[in-house]
Symmetry: C2
Subunit: 227 residues, 2 copies
């Protein structure tokens, strides 16, 4: 077979993290190429004998030294044929969430220029990565309301107020504490631990834990999460 085509395939990941009440995105400073010095998403070219998912896992490891908590395909960007000025490149973008941003970004050799950016203070991004970021934000907001992905941004044990805060930060709306708690607890997929938060003023808060098995069982039985 003779296919006259010269298109390169890349993968890019937009990784969200949440700490201190703020949503962050992981960016890498470009060392080479036409976008040298600009910040960009984690990503790179796919190898000929490598699956897309392996490629994105490899890039996450090589460029940032991280293993994410949630990863799914976001969208394939290939309508702007000049999105990479050097040649025709299409990018299969992935959407990722990570629990603890404190993972040492410098753990890996290639990762000297990996940093978390608050989404309110993003620098100008390379290529069409601003567009990818926007699509990802929409996905994050939508998904937060119908899948329990908030737990993939919080530590294993978390405060109810953190969860509530995460929702009101990302969805950008106020949430009634009582109704929220009632609803979430009503799902019966998160459970109390016997631990309490320390080192904060005010009444100490209970720590909770998400039980994914219970959630999976509920889904199997036709349950549908919805905030």
């Amino acid at each position: 077979m003779n296919v006259e085509q010269n298109i390169k395939v890349a993968v890019d990941a937009i990784v969200f993290g949440y700490t201190e009440g703020k949503l962050h995105v992981l960016l890498i400073k470009q060392k080479y190429g036409p976008m040298r010095g600009r910040w960009a998403l984690v990503g790179g070219f796919v190898k000929t004998s490598e699956s897309l998912i392996d490629a994105i896992h490899r890039e996450l490891k090589e460029e940032a030294g991280i293993v994410v908590n949630f990863l799914e395909q976001l969208y394939t960007f290939g309508d702007d044929i000049k999105r990479d000025p050097r040649m025709r490149v299409i990018s299969v973008a992935y959407f990722a969430l990570i629990k603890n941003e404190s993972v040492d970004l410098k753990a890996d050799t290639d990762a000297e220029d990996a940093r978390w950016f608050n989404i309110d203070e993003l620098p100008q991004l390379a290529y069409d990565h601003q567009k990818i970021y926007e699509v990802a934000m929409n996905r994050l907001r939508a998904k937060l309301t119908y899948q329990p992905i908030g737990f993939d941004l919080l530590p294993k044990e978390f405060l109810f107020s953190d969860l509530e805060n995460l929702y009101s930060t990302i969805l950008d709306r106020e949430i009634d504490r009582r109704n929220f708690r009632k609803k979430i607890l009503g799902f019966e997929m998160i459970e109390e631990t016997d631990k309490f938060a320390e080192g904060k003023p005010g009444r100490p808060a209970k720590l909770f834990r998400f039980n994914r098995q219970k959630y999976n069982r509920l889904v199997r039985d036709g349950f549908h999460f919805e905030i």
Copy 2:
């Protein structure tokens, strides 16, 4: 830049149609290649200087002579590196809906072997197209409940009973006629015409029409469709 990569990029479309109370999928009989004689989705290789969306429009025209009513990216299949036995190919799959299947599939020269198949009588499909079909069915069912895409499968003017039937066929569950009508009419995005269905037994049914402008206005004002 020197990228050592030899991956080809294809686009494939899964096109759904709805007639006589049944859901159909458009398939093309392969004339050449390792899958000769097998039925496959509309699709082909992307040209180096062609956007993905142009590529899929071109294939729909060349292989089936159709223009679809709704088209969006579905998923990019690129994890099975042997999905095409000849070489590494990734496929950006599109999801399409068409209003009137009676469009003449033979209108175009290349389309001699294009046919609609009832989804209950699908033949064995080429490549990983069975997988693509399954992902598309899930998307169709999910989307039907939160976006008014049912109207993209019906003629411009349709009976309420057709709409109801479409929903109960695709979602595979019974629908209460009164509640359904009340809900849909309550959205105020479909309107009565002054025409009636002819040539059917029983009381003649009013024809209705979907008003996309009204729908768009509602969405802009924060409305969320949900069946």
